[in-house]
C-alpha cells in the first residue's frame, strides 16, 4: 500500500504519455473534435496494441494484462492530461468492470484486445447511489425497447451492455439506434441510444452501484490529469505573459491563487491515489472493507470534481482574453472538467453518500 507511484506505474505513464505526445497534441484534438468522428479510433487501436491499455483490467487468463485499478488510474491521468478522445473509461473501465462482475468470459477477451469496444448503456450522469431509471424494458418476446440518454462511448461501441432491472443484456450495436447529440464535452461525446424490439442476450446479474462507484473512484484520476494540465499550462503562461512591465505571475494576488490551486491539486492527487489503491485490492466479502473502499471513491470523486472545475475556470480567467479563444485548448479542458464533475455522481451526491458511509447522519 502506497500513495506514491511505483516504478512500473511510472513506466506505464511514460509510454502512454509519449504516444499521446506524438499522436494527440492539443491541435490534433481540436481538429478531430470538429470532424465527423470525434473519437480517435486509430489512436485507440495503437494504445491497445502497443501498450495494452484496453485489457489492463482484464485478467491474464482472458488475454488481458491482469493489472489493477492503480495502473488504470495512471492511464486515466495521462488520458486526462491530453483530453484524449478514446473510449478507455467507457469500454475498458466501466463495461469491462461490469462484465468481470457478472463473470462473462467471451466478450471480455475481445475487449481486452481493443479490437471490440463496448459501452455500458447508462447515462454518464448516473449516480452510483440511486437506482438506474427504468427507461428500457423487456417485451413479451424477450426483446428490448426504450431509450437511454447521454451515453458516453456509444457511437464507437460494437456492443452495448444494457442493465434492465438487475439483468445485464448484451446487444449488438447494429441493432440499436445511436444518435449523437451535441455535447458540452467535445472530447467525450454523448449519444441517445434507442432500442425498439432489439434482440439481446442476458449475460448475468449486475450490481450497478458497485460498477459505477468503481468508475467514479477512477474518474477522479482522470480529473487529476485534467487539473494538472490546467495548472501547468496556466503557470507557464503567467510566468511568460508581461503586463505593467512585470510577469503577471509576480503579482501576489495571482501567486496566492496559484498556491491555493496547487494545494487543491496536491490533495486531489492524494485522494485519487488512495481511491485507486483501495480499488486495486481483490474483492473481499468483508463489509467494513467494502464501506471503506466506497468511501474512498466518494471522497476522491467529490473532491476532484470540484478541484478540476475550479482549476480549469481559474485557468481560463488567468489566461485573460486568450482563455476565451477557440484556438487555445483550455476550453477543451474546461468542458471535460465540467462534464466529469457531473459524470458518475455529482460532488453533492458523493458527499450525501458519505453521510451513510462515514456515519454522519442527516437531520431526522
Amino acid at each position: 500500500m502506497t500513495l506514491l507511484y511505483t516504478e512500473v506505474e511510472e513506466e506505464l505513464r511514460a509510454s502512454v504519455r509519449d504516444l499521446l505526445a506524438d499522436r494527440c497534441g492539443p491541435d490534433a484534438v481540436l481538429k478531430r473534435v470538429e470532424s465527423a468522428s470525434p473519437y480517435d479510433m486509430d489512436l485507440w487501436k495503437t494504445l491497445s496494441r502497443e501498450i495494452g491499455v484496453a485489457g489492463l483490467l482484464v485478467p491474464e487468463e482472458y488475454g488481458g494484462a491482469g493489472a489493477s485499478a492503480r495502473e488504470a488510474a495512471v492511464v486515466l491521468e495521462e488520458l486526462g492530461r491530453a483530453v484524449a478522445p478514446v473510449p478507455f473509461l467507457t469500454s475498458s473501465v466501466l463495461a469491462t468492470r461490469a462484465l468481470l462482475q457478472v463473470g462473462e468470459k467471451d466478450l471480455i477477451q475481445e475487449l481486452a484486445s481493443g479490437e471490440t469496444t463496448a459501452a455500458l448503456a447508462v447515462s454518464l450522469a448516473a449516480s452510483p447511489y440511486r437506482p438506474l431509471p427504468a427507461t428500457v424494458t423487456v417485451t413479451d418476446r424477450g426483446t428490448l425497447s426504450g431509450e437511454v440518454r447521454a451515453v458516453a462511448g456509444a457511437d464507437v461501441a460494437d456492443v452495448l451492455l444494457v442493465p434492465v432491472g438487475t439483468a445485464l443484456y448484451r446487444v449488438a450495436a447494429e441493432h440499436v439506434r445511436i444518435e449523437v447529440v451535441p455535447s458540452l464535452d467535445l472530447t467525450r461525446p454523448i449519444a441517445t441510444v434507442t432500442f425498439s424490439d432489439t434482440p439481446g442476450e442476458v449475460v448475468g446479474h449486475l450490481d450497478a452501484r458497485k460498477v459505477l462507484s468503481f468508475g467514479a473512484g477512477l474518474l477522479a484520476s482522470e480529473q487529476l490529469g485534467v487539473a494538472e494540465w490546467c495548472l501547468d499550462t496556466t503557470l507557464a503562461y503567467i510566468k511568460e505573459r508581461h503586463q505593467f512591465a512585470r510577469p503577471v505571475g509576480s503579482f501576489q494576488a495571482i501567486k496566492h491563487r496559484m498556491a491555493d490551486l496547487w494545494l487543491d491539486v496536491v490533495r486531489a492527487r492524494a485522494a485519487a491515489r488512495n481511491a485507486a489503491d483501495l480499488l486495486a485490492a481483490p474483492p473481499v466479502p468483508d463489509a467494513a472493507a467494502a464501506v471503506e473502499i466506497e468511501a474512498a471513491s466518494a471522497v476522491a470523486k467529490s473532491w476532484c470534481s470540484e478541484v478540476v472545475v475550479h482549476v480549469a475556470e481559474e485557468g481560463v480567467q488567468l489566461h485573460g482574453g486568450t482563455g476565451m479563444t477557440w484556438e487555445h485548448p483550455l476550453h477543451l479542458y474546461l468542458k471535460r472538467a465540467k462534464s466529469t464533475g457531473i459524470a458518475l455522481g455529482t460532488p453533492g451526491a458523493h458527499r450525501d453518500a458519505l453521510a451513510v458511509l462515514a456515519d454522519l447522519p442527516a437531520p431526522a
Binding site: 502506497t2 500513495l3 506514491l4 503557470l235 503567467i238 510566468k239 512585470r246 510577469p247 505571475g249 509576480s250 503579482f251 501576489q252 495571482i254 501567486k255 496566492h256 496559484m258 498556491a259 491555493d260 496547487w262 494545494l263 496536491v266 490533495r267 486531489a268 492527487r269 492524494a270 485522494a271 491515489r273 488512495n274 471522497v299 476522491a300 467529490s302 473532491w303 458527499r351 450525501d352 458519505l354 453521510a355 462515514a358 456515519d359 454522519l360 447522519p361 442527516a362 437531520p363 431526522a364
Partner: protein
C-alpha cells in the same frame, strides 16, 4: 540495513531490560537504544534508518511512557532537526538526549515586536566579547518560554550588511542572568506565549549553531521543520478536529440541521484529503529534510482547523455561547484540541499566524514550489542599519 525486523528486536531488548514504570529511566533507555527517532544517526537517539520505520516503533511502544508533544513541540519539531543539521558533535551529544526525554524544554526566540513575517529585519544584537557573546534585545510571542531551559535564538551580529547576511544563530541559556520572561495574555485568556527581554545576556561561543553570519540559512532549516511539525502531524482517518466534531454530531441528533450537515460533509471530505496528502508527503519525505511542500500542509491544516473549530461552536448552539474558563493563567502546554469548543475556536486562530502566516506560506509555495517570480524587493541590497524602521 535497518529494517522492521531489526527494530522489532531492538524493541524486545528494550522492553526486556527496562521497566516502563520508571518513566524517565525508560525514555533514556529508549533514546540510547536508538528508538527515539530512528532516522537520526546512531548514538544520537536513532539508527540511521528510513523515517517511515518510526511508525513501527510507535506501534510497538504504544503502551509505554510517551513524550508530551505539547510542551516539547519546539524542541522536537524545530530545535532538534536544526541541531542535527548544524550542530557540532559536542552540541549534539549535549542537547539531543535531554531534549528528547523532556528533561529540558525548548522555546524559540525568533519573533520581535518589529520583525514577524519579515524575520530577517530582527534587531536583537549579539556582540562578541572574547569567547562570549553579549545579547541585548526583545523577543515576543515566545511560546512556552516559561517552561524552557534552552532556546533557539537568532540575533544580529553585523549591522553593516543587508539584513539576511548579518544574522547568527545561537542556543540561548534561558537560565542565564539577564533573561526576563513576562507572560503575554492572549485571545483565549491564558498565557501560552511570552515577551522575553534579553539584557546583557552572556552566551559562550560554544552555544553558536553554524557560522557567524550564516544565521538565516540555519533559521530556514528550523522554519521548514516548523511548518511540517505544525501541519504534517499524522492523524488517523476521522481523527483530530474532525473526529471531535463528528463525535458531537453522532451523539447529539438534536443539534443537527441541514445547513450544518452540508458543511460537515464538505469538511469531512477536506479533512480526509488533507490527511491523505500529509500521509503522501511523509512517504515522499521518508528520507531527507522537508522542502517547501511542507508549507502547503501547514496552510491546509490551518484553514481546516479553523473551519472545523468554528463549526463546532456553532453546532453546539446554546452551549456554544459559553466558555470553559477565562482565568488568566500560564498554560502548561500547547494544545490545539483540548479544553472546550470556545477555546479551540480561539486557539485555532493562531494556526494561520504561528510558524509563518498563511500569506507568507502562499508566497513560499508560489515562489519555491511553483517557481513564480518574487515581488520587487526594495531592501535587498541595503545594509540593515540603513533600512527604514
Amino acid at each position: 540495513m535497518v529494517d522492521g525486523e531489526t527494530i522489532g528486536e531492538r524493541v524486545a531488548a528494550l522492553l526486556a531490560g527496562h521497566d516502563p514504570a520508571d518513566r524517565l529511566e525508560f525514555l533514556r533507555a529508549r533514546f540510547d537504544a536508538g528508538l527515539a527517532w530512528v532516522h537520526f544517526p546512531e548514538g544520537l537517539g536513532g539508527l540511521g534508518a528510513p523515517r517511515e520505520l518510526q511508525q513501527v516503533v510507535e506501534r510497538e511502544l504504544a503502551g509505554t511512557p510517551q513524550l508530551d508533544t505539547g510542551v516539547q513541540a519546539i524542541g522536537l519539531g524545530m530545535a532538534a532537526p536544526t541541531i542535527l543539521t548544524f550542530g557540532t558533535e559536542e552540541q549534539k551529544k549535549r542537547f539531543l538526549r535531554p531534549l528528547w526525554t523532556g528533561e529540558e524544554i525548548w522555546c524559540q526566540l525568533f519573533s520581535e515586536p518589529g520583525a514577524g513575517s519579515d524575520l530577517a529585519t530582527l534587531g536583537t544584537r549579539a556582540v562578541r566579547d572574547g569567547d562570549e557573546w553579549v545579547v541585548d534585545g526583545q523577543k515576543v510571542w515566545t511560546s512556552g518560554a516559561h517552561h524552557a531551559r534552552w532556546a533557539i535564538l537568532v540575533a544580529r551580529t553585523d549591522v553593516d550588511v543587508p539584513k539576511h547576511r548579518g544574522l547568527t544563530y545561537f542556543v540561548c541559556d534561558m537560565h542565564a542572568p539577564g533573561v526576563d520572561v513576562r507572560p503575554l495574555r492572549q485571545i483565549t485568556g491564558e498565557a501560552e506565549f511570552n515577551e522575553v527581554f534579553l539584557t546583557g545576556v552572556r552566551l559562550a561561543d560554544s552555544l553558536r549553531l553554524g557560522e557567524v553570519g550564516d544565521g538565516w540559512r540555519v533559521a530556514q532549516t528550523t522554519l521548514m521543520n516548523e511548518r511540517v511539525a505544525i501541519g504534517g502531524a499524522p492523524v488517523r482517518r476521522g481523527g483530530g478536529m474532525i473526529g471531535l466534531v463528528a463525535d458531537t454530531w453522532r451523539s447529539r441528533p438534536e443539534l443537527r440541521t441541514h445547513d450544518l450537515h452540508q458543511r460537515l460533509l464538505r469538511l469531512w471530505v477536506e479533512a480526509d484529503v488533507t490527511r491523505l496528502a500529509g500521509a503522501r508527503l511523509r512517504e515522499q519525505l521518508s528520507a531527507g529534510q522537508p522542502g517547501p511542500e511542507g508549507s502547503g500542509m501547514k496552510l491546509s491544516f490551518a484553514s481546516l482547523n479553523q473551519a472545523l473549530s468554528g463549526l463546532d461552536v456553532e453546532l453546539r448552539g446554546e452551549e456554544g455561547l459559553g466558555y470553559d474558563d477565562w482565568t488568566f493563567r500560564r498554560s502548561d502546554s500547547v494544545d490545539f484540541f483540548g479544553r472546550g469548543p470556545g477555546y479551540r475556536y480561539l486557539r485555532a486562530k493562531g494556526n494561520s499566524i504561528e510558524g509563518g502566516t498563511s500569506e507568507i506560506l502562499r508566497n513560499i509555495v508560489a515562489e519555491r514550489v511553483l517557481g513564480l517570480p518574487s515581488e520587487p524587493r526594495v531592501d535587498k541590497d541595503v545594509p540593515w542599519k540603513d533600512l527604514p524602521r
